[in-house]
């Protein structure tokens, strides 16, 4: 049994009882990384020397009562860490070794004395659903290394699943926390838009991006969100809404909980084994005293098109900052300023990033703005209204996180539209700004994890956590551990 099979609460108890030290925890993390990361490729940069020194300091500290005291964590590489290399898995930032400040979430983790083990692999600039768009070695799925871990927070999910860290942070713009959490059999939450500060998150699509925790169980997830949530004067879109004690919502009681199951989420295109797992999960809820009904989110089928227009438009503006002047890799081959911008960007960005910048620039260009960008913003309103209407009568919406379990490396990478369609069940949640969690709910015939998605009202993470936790406690899917099998293992 690994130390990371324990919950944060259990490890905290072991630390207080002097059964283990923080140095044991940190050593367990690096040892596991040395054992498995040449197969998994979850990490881009390790923070070993600093982490070891910090662990020693924590072991000598008189007060050990902070919320994440000594807990080994990994940070997605689009979250800025002071003096710790931050690349967004892009060659453009390959030399960004000395960032000047911490993202607010990193300061909050530090304040609660979590230990940063390293920076986690991802699709370049968070654009992708398989981690195959990492400009470094793509991350592999710990359940079977022939398969993708999902994306874009593939490193964050794989590292937790493989037991390399206790928890990680990811970011979710269209499913980038929940989809890899589903593919890797771990728990991943996208909080309500505005719940967690985006300051220091390298922006992809600012109206959709949220940072959230990836953990092995719901209780740990609630604990980490409690730490990272809250208003931040450095992010004007972060909401001045009080942060409840999420861990106290985990009562196990879902009697009377009203669940909506959108028929669009179990329609054609959803694999039979995924549908079966979700129906089984609904039976578990029934046995716990909850009720469910089929509903409709009629505009769901427009979500993917809406999302790709809006997110690419925002990305094309956000990524304009990468000009090769202040940081990043500058092209050696330029004659003048414009040429330098063009060559640095073209040499530094991968194909998917260029494709999205091109799509977004087109959608925002003169003569097309109303037809594409503004149209998509209007359809976004319809998608959001669908959720508002359902939440008048129901507490949560439940469905699968993804239409299929993880796919094979190389299977979809050459066809952008097929890859984009994989996000059909997670994208509407970002467009509506509501919170959603993925929890393990079974395995495919091939032994790959399946994720159950639970979606809540704005700022009602409490109900999402309560529902997720009650299901988790009634099942044992989350106790299964990957064996790192696969042809290339």
């Amino acid at each position: 049994m690994s130390l990371f099979d324990h919950t944060i609460k259990e490890l905290e108890q072991k630390l207080h009882n002097h059964e283990i030290t923080v140095q044991d925890l940190v050593a367990a993390s690096y040892q596991r990384i040395k054992e498995v990361d040449d197969k998994v490729h979850a990490f881009l940069t390790l923070n070993e020397e600093n982490a070891n020194a910090y662990a020693k300091e924590l072991d000598e500290a008189a007060d050990k009562h902070t919320a994440l005291f000594g807990m080994p964590s990994g940070i997605k590489d689009n979250i800025v860490t002071k003096a710790l290399r931050t690349t967004c898995a892009s060659q453009f930032l390959d030399n960004f070794n000395d960032p000047l400040y911490n993202a607010t979430v990193v300061n909050k983790l530090n304040h609660q004395q979590a230990v940063t083990i390293g920076k986690l692999n991802m699709d370049e600039f968070a654009m992708g659903s398989s981690n195959e768009n990492s400009s470094y070695e793509p991350t592999r799925n710990p359940w079977n290394t022939d398969y993708v871990p999902g994306g874009s927070s593939g490193g964050s999910a794989a590292a937790v699943a493989a037991g390399e860290v206790l928890f990680s942070l990811g970011s979710d713009t269209g499913g980038s926390i929940r989809q890899p959490a589903a593919f890797c059999g771990v728990v991943g939450l996208k909080p309500t838009y505005g719940r967690v500060s985006r300051f220091g998150l390298v922006a992809f699509a600012s109206s959709l991006d949220q940072i959230g925790p990836i953990t092995r169980n719901v209780e740990d997830n609630a604990r980490v969100l409690e730490v990272i949530a809250g208003h931040d004067p450095m992010d004007s879109t972060s909401a001045a809404v009080e942060v409840p004690a999420y861990t106290e919502a985990l009562t196990g009681d879902v009697k009377g909980l009203k669940i909506a199951v959108p028929k669009e989420y179990l329609a054609e295109g959803v694999a039979p084994e995924v549908k079966e797992s979700v129906l089984q999960a609904l039976k578990v809820y029934e046995s716990l005293g909850a009720t469910w009904e089929e509903v409709s989110l009629p505009h769901s089928k427009y979500a993917v098109a809406t999302y790709y227009l809006l997110s690419s438009s925002e990305a094309s503006a956000n990524l304009a900052r990468f000009d090769g002047v202040r940081y990043g890799v500058r092209s050696e081959n330029a004659n003048n300023m414009i040429d330098m911008f063009k060559k640095s960007r073209s040499e530094g960005f991968g194909e998917e990033v260029k494709r999205r910048i091109m799509l977004g620039t087109f959608a925002l260009s003169s003569g097309y703005y109303d037809a594409y960008y503004k149209k998509a913003q209007k359809v976004r309103t319809l998608i959001k209204n669908d959720f508002d209407k359902i939440f008048e009568d129901y507490d949560v919406v439940i469905g699968p996180t993804t239409p299929t379990p993880a796919f094979k490396v190389g299977e979809k990478v050459d066809d952008p539209l097929t890859m984009y369609a994989n996000d059909i069940l997670t994208i509407p949640v970002n467009l509506a700004g509501v919170p959603g969690i993925s929890v393990p709910c079974g395995f495919s015939d091939q032994g790959l994890p399946i994720g159950l998605q639970i979606i809540g009202k704005h700022f009602d993470e409490n109900t999402v956590f309560r529902a997720a936790h009650a299901y988790e406690q009634a099942t044992d899917h989350h106790k299964q551990r990957p064996q790192l099998g696969g042809a290339n293992a």
Binding site: S236, F362, L417
Partner: protein
């Protein structure tokens, strides 16, 4: 099928400050056309009376006092610069 020409792709690449090879122009012309064709399904919906969503929460302008604060030093700001001289960023000439 949305009709995006190679010239349009080259124009968009220039706007986006990307240099694209002839092969990339071919590829992006085809891919952008199929993505935009896919996106045109949104035209099935009548949105003439729908307000666009720019922000999902009911947030108004967020203002703060315009006061100088300590952030980073000039020296720190130069730390990651690819090229610099006398504490300034150095770039190629703007005029030919």
């Amino acid at each position: 099928m949305a009709d995006i020409s190679k010239d349009q792709v080259k124009h968009v690449a220039h706007l986006a400050r990307l240099e694209v090879s002839e092969e990339e122009v071919e590829m992006f012309t085809e891919q952008l056309s199929s993505i935009i064709t896919y996106a045109e399904q949104l035209n099935e919906l009548d949105t003439s009376d729908v307000e666009p969503t720019t922000h999902v929460l009911d947030i108004k302008n967020v203002l703060r006092k315009d006061e100088p604060k300590k952030w980073i030093t000039q020296e720190e700001a130069m730390k990651n610069a690819p090229d610099q001289q006398d504490g300034q960023y150095r770039v190629p000439s703007i005029l030919e």
